[in-house]
Amino acid sequence: MTKSKMTSLQRVLTTLGHKEPDRVPLFLLLTMHGAKELGMGIKEYFSKAENVVEGQVRLLNKYGHDCYFGFFYAPTEIQAWGGEVVFYDNGPANSGEPFINNIDQIKTLEPPVIADTPVLQEVLKTIRILHEKAAGEVPVLGVALSPFSVPVMQLGFEAYLDLIYNEPKLFDRLMAANEHFCVEWANAQLAAGAAAICYFDPVSSPTIIPRDLYLKTGFQVARRTIAKIKGPTATHMASGRCLPIIDDLAQTGTGAVGVSADEDLGILKQACRDKLTVIGNLNGLEMIHFSREETDRNVKNAIDAAAAGGGFILADNHGEIPCQVPDEVLLAISDAVRTHGNYPQ
């Protein structure tokens, strides 16, 4: 196989193996843009697997990036736990009022059963169909929220921080329930055909908690959880920093890390070299206003900083591109990767 004939899956696997593929892989982590392609509202779009499949196929055909994204919206898992989801016309669905409004509820909290949860079944169906359509050429990405980060939506951020600091027994009980669900959910997506699981864990970022607290909490949770996930994982900090905990992240068993636009990509790459693949770090919010020239420059800068030697996937910094990002910018990113991202550099 010559480099020029690589499929997206081969390209991604090569870079994950810290070798140089034919060109830098590009993950456009698009969710809501699929609704726009189909001319649907966001709520309607995510109500059926067939819509999301069609949206993902059209987006891949349009932009030529290197993955299908089986992710619907962050609070799908909250729906599974019985919580409320609020849809917006111009942004991602968000969790509503936290469903744990008294921490004593944690004592009897039981994880949801995936087979009994319609929205999770729609996600699995989406992954199954995308996997079939990919025909072994394009990786399908699944998403599982970290057991350590999902409580921000279960309890609210403030109550969760209070729990971490002041209620160690209830914290452990919540982690046990969340870990059980996270492992089941990640493995169900892998069984449906996901090539890898994006383990969203922004609360573990040093942007949110100090490293010494992370080592006692999110780090332990990630080590236990990732060890039970039967496939590759990429830990995503969803815009949070990660440089001070790179070595710790590598010890959790994850294979890649989604990094912040707040940190220097070149320094991150050096810290991750041969340990973790770097995914990032185009600023998704600034992307809304990128001119074609800025897009080209930002893509080139990222590639110059991080592409050498493989172990790099170009993506946004947050793990989901805002729906306000124009098609022209996405096309310009795709063009720029093909202009500047060919190996050897």
Binding site: P92, E158, S239, N283, L285
Partner: protein, 217 residues
């Protein structure tokens, strides 16, 4: 108090906040109050230390949980020594704080704690939708409105709020903050806010500046 002793006390207080040690922070406050007033403590220590912690978060040196716990501890300490009716909190502009659309109230909570610790009374509207917020601000004749958001879609709604409040009886200064504004440094101008705060003490300084501007009107 000798400068070195003062610096030591500041450092002790800051370390107590960063390690969420309420007892040590309380002890540091007691030592201050042996030869300083509460107002001096707020001005010389609380604002300065919270500023340093907020700046440190911006630079990646500290974590949001430390910013949150520091604000909470300062607020709790000052609540004990600074009753609402004290002279420190009189004659201040009418200030309100709101979380727009979203359910993630941490940023708003931190700003609330720091402004309270800085000696301000303010109305907390909690989580509100745009129309309700405009109505409340007009009814309460708010002069400074602080809006916290998590999501970009919520941030973009602020533009309409600014427009609606431009017809209010009194001038309403709108200060915005939250993740979308931190990640896109031009967004606050796009939504036509009067100011943006990237840390909670930014909000405090902005309020003080606006207070000065208003009193000169």
């Amino acid at each position: 108090m000798a400068d070195s002793n003062m610096a030591d006390r500041e450092s002790t207080f800051k370390n107590a906040l960063l390690s969420s040690d309420t007892d040590a922070a309380g002890k540091a406050l007691d030592e201050y109050l042996a030869d300083k007033t509460v107002l001096e403590f707020v001005e010389e220590v609380v604002v300065k230390v919270l500023d340093e912690i907020g700046d440190g978060w911006q630079k990646g040196e500290y974590a949001l949980s430390q910013v949150y716990m520091s604000g909470r501890i300062c607020e709790d300490l000052l609540e004990k020594v600074l009753p609402d009716e004290s002279g420190l909190r009189k004659d201040k502009p009418k200030i309100a704080l709101a979380l727009l659309n979203d359910y993630h109230a941490l940023g708003k909570r931190i700003v609330y704690a720091v402004l309270r610790a800085g000696g301000y009374q303010l109305i907390d509207y909690g989580r509100v939708e745009s129309e309700e917020l405009v109505r409340k601000v007009k009814e309460d004749k708010i002069e400074i409105l602080l809006i916290s958001v998590l999501m970009l879609s919520s941030a973009l709604n602020i533009k309409e709020i600014v427009k609606s409040l431009s017809h209010a009886e009194n001038k309403v200064n709108i200060v915005v903050g939250g993740a979308p504004f931190r990640l896109d440094r031009k967004l606050w101008q796009e939504v036509r806010a009067d100011a943006v705060g990237y840390t909670a003490t930014d909000a405090l300084h902005i309020v003080r500046t606006l207070e000065g501007d208003n009193s000169n009107d």
